[in-house]
Symmetry: C2
Subunit: 362 residues, 2 copies
C-alpha cells in the first residue's frame, strides 16, 4: 500500500486526493492552521466545504498538529499550501521528513532573493528544509490547466509533472494518472514553475477588460473588449517566454499546457480575474482588495514577490529597461494605487516585429 500525504487542505491539494484515492492508495489530507474548519467538516461528515462535495471515502483527514503522524511512511508528500504558506510548510514538515520521500508541489509562485535573483518555489522549499534532510528528498511540481473543482468532479484534466530528477517521474505519473487525469512529464523545472507563477498576474491583467467595458456607457452594438483582453493575453505569454528563456527554461513549455493552457484556464474565472475586473471598473487597488476580504490573490502576491528581482536585473543590465512592460504596469497599479494605463505600444518589443509608430500617439 502506497501512502500519499497531502499537506494543505485547500481546493487544489484536496482535489489531488481524488485521483490518488481512485488509484487505491492510502491518502492522508493534512489541514494547515488555516484549514481547521475544513478538516473538522471532513472528519464529521466527509464534506469538503470549499470543494462543495464529499472527499473520497478512504481519505484520512488530519489536523496540522498531527503532521508528523501523517507523514510517517508516505512515499509522496504533496505540498498544497498557498504561495504564502511555503515557509510555514517547510517548518512544519521538515522535522518529520524521511530520506527518499518525494515532495510534489502544487503551490504556485516565485521569490526574489536578497541578491536579486528569481527562485522557483521547489528551490525555496529546499533551502528552507533542515540541512540534514534537504538533499535526501526529491522535488517535483505540477503545472498546467487544472481548476481544482473540475479535477475533484473527475472531469478531464491534462497536466505536466516536472522534476529535475527524470528517474522519479514515471513513478509519480503511475501513482496519480487516471482515465480523467492525464499526466505528461518534463524535466524543465524552470519553464514549468515560471509559467505557473506568471499565469496568475497575467490572468488578472486579462480580467481588466471585463471591468473596463462594464464601466463604460453601453456601446450601440454591445461591443465588448475582447480584443483588449487578447492583446494582454498575448503579451502575458510573450513576457512569460522572455522570463523562461532568461532563466534557462524551454520555450515549448510556454506554448503548451503549462504556459498557454494554464493562462487560458485562469482567465476563465477565479480570484485573479475578479480582482482584474474590480481594477478595470476603476477602483484603486486599496479599495478593490477590501471587496475581497480574506482572499489570497496569488497574482498580486506574485507581482510583489517578483518585482525586486526584475528591478535588480534591470539595474545590472541583465534585462533591458523596456522588458516586461505589462508586469511593471501591474506592479504600478497594485503597489501605488495607480489608475490603469496600459500602453499597448510598449508590447512585443522583444519579438521580431516592428513596433507601432510613435507618430500616431495621442
Amino acid at each position: 500500500m502506497t501512502i500519499i500525504t497531502v499537506v494543505g487542505a485547500g481546493v487544489m491539494g484536496s482535489a489531488l486526493t481524488f485521483p490518488a484515492s481512485d488509484n487505491g492508495h492510502e491518502v492522508r489530507l493534512v489541514g494547515t492552521h488555516l484549514d481547521e474548519e475544513i478538516i473538522r467538516s471532513c472528519q464529521a461528515n466527509r464534506f469538503h466545504p470549499r470543494l462543495r462535495r464529499p472527499i473520497p471515502e478512504d481519505v484520512k483527514p488530519y489536523f496540522h498538529t498531527q503532521v508528523g503522524e501523517a507523514l510517517q511512511g508516505a512515499e509522496v508528500v504533496v505540498i498544497g499550501v498557498n504561495s504564502r504558506g511555503v515557509h510555514w510548510a517547510a517548518e512544519a514538515i521538515g522535522p518529520h521528513l524521511q530520506p527518499g520521500q518525494i515532495l510534489l508541489m502544487v503551490t504556485k509562485g516565485l521569490e526574489s532573493t536578497p541578491e536579486g535573483t528569481l527562485v522557483v518555489l521547489p528551490d525555496v522549499l529546499h533551502d528552507r528544509l533542515p540541512a540534514a534532510i534537504r538533499d535526501q528528498v526529491h522535488y517535483a511540481a505540477i503545472g498546467g490547466p487544472s481548476i481544482a473543482g473540475e479535477l475533484a468532479a473527475r472531469h478531464p484534466t491534462a497536466v505536466v509533472f516536472v522534476s529535475r530528477k527524470a528517474e522519479i517521474l514515471p513513478r509519480l505519473q503511475a501513482l496519480f494518472a487516471t482515465p480523467y487525469y492525464h499526466i505528461w512529464t518534463s524535466t524543465d523545472m524552470i519553464g514549468v514553475e515560471v509559467c505557473v507563477a506568471l499565469k496568475n498576474p497575467f490572468a488578472l491583467a486579462v480580467g481588466l477588460a471585463a471591468g473596463l467595458v462594464e464601466a463604460r456607457d453601453p456601446d450601440i452594438a454591445n461591443a465588448k473588449m475582447h480584443n483588449y483582453a487578447a492583446a494582454i493575453f498575448a503579451q502575458g505569454l510573450a513576457e512569460t517566454a522572455y522570463v523562461v528563456q532568461l532563466m534557462g527554461g524551454q520555450l515549448e513549455t510556454v506554448y503548451s499546457l503549462p504556459g498557454a493552457g494554464d493562462l487560458y484556464v485562469t482567465t476563465q474565472g477565479g480570484r485573479n480575474s475578479r480582482m482584474g475586473r474590480l481594477l478595470g471598473l476603476g477602483k484603486p487597488y486599496s479599495d478593490a482588495v477590501e471587496e475581497m476580504p480574506g482572499e489570497t490573490i496569488e497574482g498580486v502576491d506574485a507581482v510583489i514577490a517578483i518585482m525586486p528581482a526584475i528591478q535588480h536585473m534591470v539595474s545590472t543590465g541583465k534585462i533591458a529597461p523596456d522588458a516586461l512592460p505589462l508586469l511593471r504596469e501591474l506592479h504600478r497599479i497594485l503597489t501605488r494605487n495607480a489608475p490603469i494605463e496600459i500602453d499597448f505600444d510598449t508590447f512585443f518589443s522583444k519579438l521580431p516585429f516592428s513596433p507601432p509608430l510613435p507618430v500616431r500617439k495621442g
Copy 2:
C-alpha cells in the same frame, strides 16, 4: 488624398473603414454579390446591418458591379471577402488592378494544392490574378485578435500587419494606425497566415467543452470543463507551432498576437465556438450545420481545405503519422459525422514531454 478601397462589406472589411476614415483617407467600401443588402442600407441611411452601427460619414459604398470604378486610384485594396471568396475576389479585381497597388488581406485560410502542399491565401490570390499584373502589385495581410465589432466601436485593438516586402510596411502602418488601432509589422508571412487560419478550427475545438458540460447532468458543485477546453487550447497552439515551423515560419509569431492572442479572442464567442458547442452537445455535424443555416463556419472550411495536404505530407513521410492529432480528430468529426472522442493522450507528442502512460488506459 490617399484612396483605400475595401472589397467585401462583411464585418471585418467594413470595420477597417473606421481607422482608415479616421485618418482622413478617402475610403470606398465595395460589397460582393452577397453584400447587396448591406450596400443598399449603407447608401440609404449609412447603417451597416451586420456591424449594427452607422459607417463613418465619408465612407463611399459601392456595389460589386462598380468595382472597377472603386479601385481606380486606390493605393491600398483591402481584401475583406470570406475564405470562400478569394477566387471570386481575384477574378473581380484582377482586370482593374494598377501596378504598385497594395493588396491587404484580412481573409483567413489555407489551401492545399493538388501537389499536396499548403499555400497561404496571399499566395493563392497571387496565383489567381492575371499574369500581367500579379507581380506588379504588393501583398500584405493582417493577423491578430480583432473582433470586427470592437474595432468598429473604436475599442483598443492590437494586430500585426505582415508582408514579405518590408519596405511597404511602414506606409501601411501609417495609413491605418490610430490611437485605438495598434499595429506591429512583421515579414513572417507564413507564421502569421498559418496562425490566422488555424485559430478557427482550434477555437471550434475549444468550444466543444461548453457543449459537453451542458449535455451532462449538473455536477453537485457545478464544475465546468474549462480544464478540458484549456488542454485543447494548448494542443491547438502546439499544433499551430508545429505547422508554422514545418512551413518555415517563426515561433515568436505563435506565442504572441497572431497565434495565442487570436486563438484566445476567437474562443470568446462567434460562429466557430457556437459550432463547437453544438458538436459538444452530441449533435452529428450534419445536424449541427442545419442549426446555423447560411453561416460560413471558417473553422470547418479550414480543416477541409488543409487536410489533403496534411495527408499527403504524412504519406510522403514529411510529417509523422502521429502529428496533428487534434486537427485530424476535427476532420473525422466534421467529415464523417463522428462522435467526439478526444484522446488527450495523443497530445503534445512533438514536445519535450514524456507522454501519459499506456498502462492506465480504459
